[in-house]
Amino acid sequence: MRRRFPNLAGLRALWSCLLAWGLQAVLAGATARLELDREFMEDGEVIPMRIVVEDAVPSAIPAIPNSQILVFTESLGQEQRQQIANGVSSFQVIIRYRGSLRGTGELRIPSISVPTSAGVLRTEPVIARVFATEPRNEPVTLHLYTARDTCYLGETLAFEIQIQSTLNLREATPHKMSFDGFVVGRTAPWIGSQVIRDGVVVGVSASRQAVTPTKEGDLILGPVSLEAVAEVGRRRARSLIDDFFGGGVELKRFALEAPGRPLKVLPLPTAGRPADFSGAVGSFRIEATVSRTNLNRGDAVTVRFLVQGNGSFDGLPSPKLVKSPGLQSYPGTNIFEPADPLGLTGTKVFEEAVVVDSTEVTSLEFQPFSFFDPQVGRYSTARLKPIPIQVVEPEATGDATAAEADPANPPAPEAVRTPPQGTGGLQPLMSSAGSAISVESDLLDSEYFGLVLLVPFVGLGLFVGVRGLRRRRSRNQAPTRRHLAEMTLRDQQAALRRSAAAGNSKAFFDALSALLRQQVSLNLGLASGASLTAVDVAEPLREQGVSEESIDSLMRLFAAADAARFAPMALPDELATWLEMTEGVVAELQSRTKETP
């Protein structure tokens, strides 16, 4: 089987590829992610965690592995959520966990495999930071956490303030934050969660802010102060109305302060600093586009720079064009679209108006854009490819050369239109209409033409299939008497040829006699031809339409076979003649046999 269809292995590989591709397509919509409520935690807390699976159903609950810091993790079960947004239905399964924190440092939860109905999904690794437990003298406390202890000058990073309370918090008013040596940036909304510490449920409200150091050295980020109001108990209500308006609750105002955290701000290294470094700190990708590339001299175009990435976008300088004679650039607007609430990642778009005042300008070239990447601690340079442009002299009218060539037919002033901008590169007209074409789609353009390509192979496959089926069926059938007789005839013919070639007269005439009787009995539909004589067969064969010449030859062959029983000696040449005559007669008799149903 494998020898006859060697490409089966290839087909199997192709099928596997298609299957994998299909599976990939199915999996494309399903996602899984691991979520923590906060990025900053303290030693000794029992923290909630969850794996959110979207558009797939988990077939088993995966385990979150323990680590040096995260211990005693356990699953709390799962819940399902269905939501419809903008007419699109999505499905979520949330698997809840909790785990205890022991120790301080960076908590790194690796990627977790989630077996689902749509295949195995993997979560992204999650990183959080665990701090030492801070003293808590009051039921409501304020804390400040930073992602790192060191950073670079000009680098924007996030810090978080958390109000932790065992009481029901009513309101919180942070004081204006201003830290020496830092510029405070965007603030994210407050997010509430719960944590268990020493067996007590503690409510946590957290808010993140962006901050950028403006001077280097050992700085202190903080302190942060805040005023909060919390319920400390319930007093007996004087009336139903008093209770309705909250009069039955005893409130207490807390003045909270979180001490500052030391932050070592490193200067940007001088080693490897590009000469054109403009002060951008972060990791960025740059693209440049131009509104038009085909213009008349004096036209203005808009060059748009797209800076994407993460880092400090507030003071991000614009990439610049290389100055050249004939180019005048005018700074335009810039817009920042943050991708996260703190604006640490996003896209900043700078627009610049450029007037091209020379036809010598063939491209817009850009200065290298260098930035310091604090993640890797070195400088990088992004280089933009020049954008080719085509600048032509503005044309007052159409094709003046052609107009001069046809002075007998001058243009009518009212009919002449100013050509559109950028027609300088337009190719001349064709002088001949050419042969007629069809603009309509025909079979050659249609996907159905593929059938024309496939039909021969389908037909071939059908032919091979039907032929194989027939062969198999014929092999399975028992041989008929006629089939056996034909096989015997073939054997006798072969024996006749062998004996003629060997010059064995006796064997030849024996085989000849047997062959003639067998063939004639087959023609006449007799069970055996042993008792046949030449006289008996002539008339019936004549009735079957056998020619007189063949019947005559048959008579002679019968006579020769009979005579050979008494004198079988014959020369090889004579045997060859008899063989030729025999084969001619047998061929005609066989042709008559095939015509007989």
Binding site: P420, L429, A436, I437, V452, L453, L460
Partner: protein, 245 residues
Amino acid sequence: MRSFGSILFRFAFGVVLLAIRLAAQSDFDRGITAYSVGRFQESVGLFERALTNGRPSVGVLYNLGNARFRNGEVGKAIAAWRLAERAAPGRGEIQRNLELARRQVGSGSGPDWTQWARRLPPRRWAVPAAVAAWSWAILLLIGLGRDDRAGRFRKWMNRLGAVTILLFLGYSVSMAAVRSAPDSVVVGTGVAARFGPVDESPVAFPLPDGAEVRVDEVRGPWIRIVDSFGHVGWLSGGQVIQIPQ
């Protein structure tokens, strides 16, 4: 008598056809003259009349594109050139004019990998692929009755098989490229795609005259299009010219 009438009728029919053809040719030449002296609007009319009266040809469509472009009708010019390009994919002047117009419009003409399909469209692959496929199938059929495993016949059969597979792949990839390339051109200024197929639907994004888009769905007089940046919106059918693929 009947045969005389038949001959007369045929003669008259031939004269009418010849007259139409001559008139079309005359419009074509007059269109060139009008274009040469800067009367682009008149030139557009004459080339359009040549197109209506005679049968379309690469020359008429190409010249009509030039005249429309000079007349400020960039979208219609691109449509005419694309029709000409369809009949003569290798013509350099058509490609250069299309590039010029596309640069001016500032919109792409589909993914880069589909560009080559414009020069080698499926119809260029179709006939060789069909001839090779049928020939190979016939050879395979003949080969079924031969026990010629290492012979010359088998060698030629294998070679033809390889050629057939290559042509078939070329045809398939070219067809896929054409199907994913823009098949329509926006004509007119101030065209804007809407979020839904109703007049009251807010504007999703503007489309410049000459923007090439792919028609995704047709719903009554509205069509859903995808522009070269992947934006999806609804346009009225009259705002685009569809190019047969």
